[in-house]
């Protein structure tokens, strides 16, 4: 990874990438501006093939989503019919009402929201200083933390969940949203640290040195100089932590027992009965609604996901 090569961000929709035919090496160019005819034909064929492949991907990725929406809008009578159609004959929002009537969705959504917000705020608050140390200092502790970030990716949850269950039981935090939030915070930390370390590295050290010369203490430097520059990175990290907590299922399934405390993913599984028989319409409607916050957040983050986030990670 050399520094001389210009690096382009991953987000390329309208960036100034040279047109494909413009070659940097002018030698061997037979007909300037226009490649010979047979070559152009194969190129056109290749383009067609590429579009066909892209269409295939779009279908594969998109059809389950459309089917979920379609099922959510169908009336119970239509869902019972023999030949299910893509487009509902008379779209009805009745399933949404039915879903809220069948399960305590609003309450579960509130629980999920509390846990997700708590996770996002706490994770960012404790991860930012730590990421700062990991990015700026070469201490043994920073190296150990980096090692933990890697290894934690490989933790089998099943080995962690049993002791976690016992620890939380001793702390009287079992079946509590606070306990779940704490677990989620730690669970979101590796990714949060990884993102934030990249962002801290992007802040020039010279700025901090200037602040130190002007007599600012360490905390003062972090709060007034570095943190504001990290703003976008912190926001993105918080959003990721939010989605992670909002979507999580396994810990919530094990750690929450009272129906009144369960989060949205756990309550969604209650729509599926013991024999796997489900009331399809309300199930689809509830699942669709539960997805909207996550997808909305990812929509905000999309640029960063395909661009900044990984560009920051890959940057050397």
């Amino acid at each position: 990874m050399t520094a001389t090569r210009p690096r382009r961000s991953v987000r390329l929709p309208r960036s100034g990438r040279p047109a494909p035919r413009q070659r940097s090496t002018p030698r061997k160019r037979l007909a300037p501006g226009r490649p010979p005819a047979p070559r152009r034909r194969t190129r056109r064929a290749a383009r067609a093939g590429q579009y066909a492949a892209l269409l295939g991907y779009l279908l594969f990725l998109g059809f389950p989503l459309l089917w979920l929406l379609s099922t959510a809008l169908k009336s119970p009578r239509e869902l019972g019919s023999l030949h299910p159609a893509w487009i509902p004959r008379d779209p009805t929002p009745a399933n949404v009402r039915q879903a809220f009537a069948e399960q305590p969705l609003a309450h579960a959504a509130l629980n999920s929201l509390l846990v997700a917000l708590g996770t996002a705020v706490v994770a960012v608050l404790i991860a930012t200083p730590m990421a700062y140390v990991m990015a700026r200092h070469r201490t043994r502790l920073a190296r150990a933390a980096t090692g933990w970030v890697v290894v934690s990716q490989a933790f089998p949850f099943v080995l962690v969940i049993i002791p976690l269950f016992l620890v939380l039981k001793n702390l009287r935090l079992i079946d509590s949203l606070l306990g779940l939030t704490l677990v989620y915070v730690v669970w979101a930390l590796p990714f949060a640290l990884w993102m934030l370390v990249g962002h801290v590295r992007a802040v020039p050290v010279e700025l901090e040195e200037a602040a130190a010369v002007d007599g600012a203490g360490r905390l003062r430097t972090l709060v007034s100089v570095t943190a504001p520059l990290l703003g976008p990175g912190i926001a993105a990290t918080a959003l990721f932590a939010f989605v992670t907590a909002w979507n999580e299922f396994f810990f919530a399934l094990v750690l929450l027992k009272s129906p009144g405390r369960q989060t949205l993913p756990v309550v969604l599984t209650h729509f599926i009965g013991a024999e796997g028989v489900a009331d399809l319409g309300p199930l689809a409607a509830a699942a669709f609604l539960a997805t909207l916050p996550s997808v909305a957040v990812f929509g905000i983050l999309q640029r960063r996901i395909t661009g900044g986030l990984l560009a920051g990670a890959v940057k050397s």
Partner: protein, 310 residues
Amino acid sequence: MTSVAEARTPPAGERRAAGRRTAGHGTWFLVLPALVPILVFSVGPLLYGILLAFTDAQSGRTAATRWTGALNFRDLLHDTLFWESFRIGLVWAVGVTVPQFLLALGLALLLNQDLRLRGLARALAIVPWAMPEVVVGIMWRLVYNPDAGILNETLRDLGLGAGRDWLSGLATALPAVVVVGVWAGLPQTTVALLAGLQNVPRELHEAAAVDGAGAWRRFRTVTWPALRPVALAITALQLIWNLNSFALVYVLTGGGPGGKTRLPMLFAYEEAFRYGQFGYAAAMGCVLVAVVSVLLAVFLAGRLRGGDEA
């Protein structure tokens, strides 16, 4: 993903100087808020879990827990159900990771081109990542539904038989959940590979094209060497994540039919929280850790080698 290796490389000279200047007891104050939860809720439980594997711990038992040495592991060795589950777990992990990688590579290469619809494809490729796993499971249950599902309806329309109950069939259940696994993990892999493709030297690509190298040749000699480290990293991570996967299959089949999709995670979950065998389940976790550690070692070794080449 590469930040891991990056963190290991020595920092630029100026940074080292800055680090030395400010390093000291003040660092603890910044690290402590994160360190305590990590120790209490992550490192601690992991070590505790390994210890539990050598005990006869059970949930809700009044008698004291005793050390049983390697008894749990000896029992595991003869537990054919566990090894069957382990085998299914490996089939699932490899069956998801490999096709997912190939599909993601294709998609990343396409998205790296100047194609129309690319924006739509990028947006759509992110959605499965954003969705809660439970919703992904529910959604595919609707697709696979024998009566109201679109899959059987499409097959009927195409005249390819009357369709079947995909998730309940002994032969079809595992392939059916593998397809869902591929769908759900495609975004992360694609995004990682897309980022990796930015490391491919475009000039070299163009020079090779001018010299008459075909698309495949260019991919092999120019694209792949630059992409290899990222490809290796994301594949290893996906393999590990898939071995640890739980929610998707829990929602889709609950491990059925007849245990045909009972991944090790589901098996251990049932053992621990349905039958209360904490010690035994922890031993299963340890076996999984061992397997994952080997994978991680391969991953890190590959990363370092890749780092040398790049």
